[in-house]
């Protein structure tokens, strides 16, 4: 029996994020009152308390803040992917995104390396942003 994919149940503003991802857009929010980049999507700015948050499309470009290569799977679904590398990237608009990196072998990822976001439609309902290596400063 094949293990089932761990699938989120997005609600409210969470669904907005995944709906944009399905359209190949990585979104964050910009606070209209304090200009803060807000991520994940919220109903309230954690910087100033404002409810005026504007959903904004990101360039998808960032640099690796940290990473880990897992030699065990978190869930039977990922067993065939081991080892796989998970990345925290600081995006150029000023928020941090967590995702796996798809095109680099273990040992070939380092802090500070540029990444870009790609979109993987894993099911009819779910598209996941993922990372791949990028050349610094060059849009995809």
């Amino acid at each position: 029996m094949t293990a089932q994919r761990p699938t989120p149940t997005p609600r409210g503003e969470e669904a907005v994020y995944f709906n944009h991802a399905a359209n190949r857009e990585l979104v964050f929010q910009r606070c209209s009152d304090c200009d803060r980049a807000v991520f994940y999507l919220r109903t309230l700015c954690p910087g100033c308390g404002s409810e005026s948050l504007e959903v904004t499309v990101s360039s998808g470009l960032g640099t690796v803040y940290s990473f880990t290569t897992q030699y065990r799977a978190a869930h039977p679904f990922f067993a065939a992917d081991v080892p796989y590398t998970l990345v925290l990237a600081d995006m150029e608009e000023g928020f941090r995104l967590f995702a796996n990196i798809v095109d680099r072998a273990p040992g070939d990822v380092h802090i500070g390396m540029p990444v870009e976001t790609i979109f993987d439609p894993v099911t009819d309902e779910l598209t996941l942003p993922r990372f791949r290596a990028a050349t610094a400063g060059v849009p995809s």
């Binding site: 290569t69 030699y71 065990r72 799977a73 978190a74 998970l86 925290l88 941090r96 996941l128």
Partner: protein
């Protein structure tokens, strides 16, 4: 009105701290509660405050109260991960001072080892992290370690020193599960689970039940055991998900510990024994920095040269802690119990002579929640 010195731990017990035979999580809690009450010279009929937290039971005070057959007047199931029990020391002291209860029990139980090493958790995962296969918690701690190494030059061999020192302490405990020495090379040779962390950078996976009993300092004077007084307590929290932790190398442990030390009116230099949550070598190293035992970034150099081993500079996790003695899912209560053993002079071969003042620090989840307590053998420092 401060709670400092107003409450005391009058009973403590732990049971089946490596592997249980035939006890459920709540069954372990119940046995620990009874033995802690016996230690205090009290009975279940005296308990009117019930404090617990659990990965097994969504409403753990109902579960434990029903199992024990008691009807407490005040309950608290603070859910902030493994440090919840340390936070509950202050919650219990405040409730005792306010007259909401007169005898408070804090209890925990887990069969994580018997459950074949699967981390039992009811905790939901963020929709933004769940689809990517991050192992909670070691994947997050791998990212913490990677960043610490990048920023400060910390090495895997330095992290391994923490596991080696913990094993040396554990070898002074009569029922230690692994009573043989560990070397840095052995840690480095163990398999990598989430880079750069090895299997032996991780805590043990054990069963275990624990309980402590608190009452007012006034009433404690009439009881049979040597009371351990709560002089200071502090809490702090920073995030829920690792992707929201802005600086992976720095925690708010410094805030909770500052609050606890200020309340107690003591300084770090006054502390005789230190009990810090050691789910992983890297989490312990970061916490030692944030608690102020060394400067930020200097943890790697600090933890070597036997400074943390028996006879070293710092009496840290004197029973081997989570890395080498017991870690049944949530560790916080067992740190408190070891501090109580030291302050009562009951710590056998690992006893720190004349220990009067202990600092206990716990974290919850991935360096997210923090609780610090200052415990004392005397009503004032």
């Amino acid at each position: 009105m401060s709670i400092s010195g107003s409450a005391a731990i009058v009973g403590a017990a732990q049971v089946d701290v490596f592997r249980t035979e035939g006890r459920s999580p709540v069954g372990l809690m119940a046995v620990a509660v009874r033995r802690a009450l016996q230690d205090a010279g009290l009975t279940l009929a005296d308990v009117d405050g019930l404090f617990t937290s659990s990965s097994y039971y969504a409403m753990p005070t109902l579960t434990l109260g029903e199992y024990l057959g008691i009807s407490p007047t005040h309950v608290d199931s603070t859910s902030i991960g493994g440090c919840g029990f340390i936070a509950q020391l202050a919650h219990a002291a405040a409730a005792l001072q306010a007259g909401l209860c007169t005898v408070a029990v804090i209890a925990y139980g887990s069969t994580q080892r018997s459950d074949a090493g699967k981390l039992v958790s009811m905790a939901e995962q963020s929709v933004y992290e769940l689809p990517y296969g991050l192992i909670h918690p070691i994947g997050a701690f791998g990212m913490v370690a990677q960043r610490h190494m990048h920023q400060y030059g910390t090495t895997s061999a330095q992290l391994a020193e923490l596991a080696v020192s913990a094993r040396q302490w554990a070898m002074l405990v009569d029922d230690a599960p692994y009573p043989t020495p560990l070397t840095v090379d052995e840690v480095l040779a163990s398999s990598i689970i989430a880079s750069p962390l090895h299997r032996l950078d991780c805590c043990l996976v054990t069963d275990g039940g624990g309980a402590i009993v608190l009452t007012s300092a006034e009433r404690a004077a009439d009881l049979r055991s040597d009371p351990v007084f709560l002089l200071g307590a502090g809490e702090a929290q920073n995030h829920r998900n690792i992707s929201q932790m802005a600086d992976l190398t720095t925690t708010v442990a410094r805030d909770s510990s500052h609050r606890a030390l200020s309340m107690a009116g003591v300084a770090l230099d006054d502390i005789d024994t230190v009990h810090v949550y050691d789910a992983f070598t890297i989490s312990l190293l970061v916490l030692l920095e944030d608690l102020g035992f060394c400067a930020k970034g200097e943890g790697g150099a600090f933890v070597g040269e036997g400074r943390l081993a028996p006879g070293g500079q710092l009496a840290l996790n004197t029973n081997g802690g989570g890395l080498s003695y017991t870690h049944p899912g949530m560790l916080g209560l067992f740190l408190v119990i070891e501090a109580v053993q030291q302050l009562r002079g009951n710590a056998g071969r690992r006893q720190i002579p004349g220990a009067r003042l202990s600092l206990v620090h716990g974290m919850g989840m991935t360096l997210a929640a923090h609780a610090t307590a200052v415990l004392s053998a005397t009503p004032q420092a």
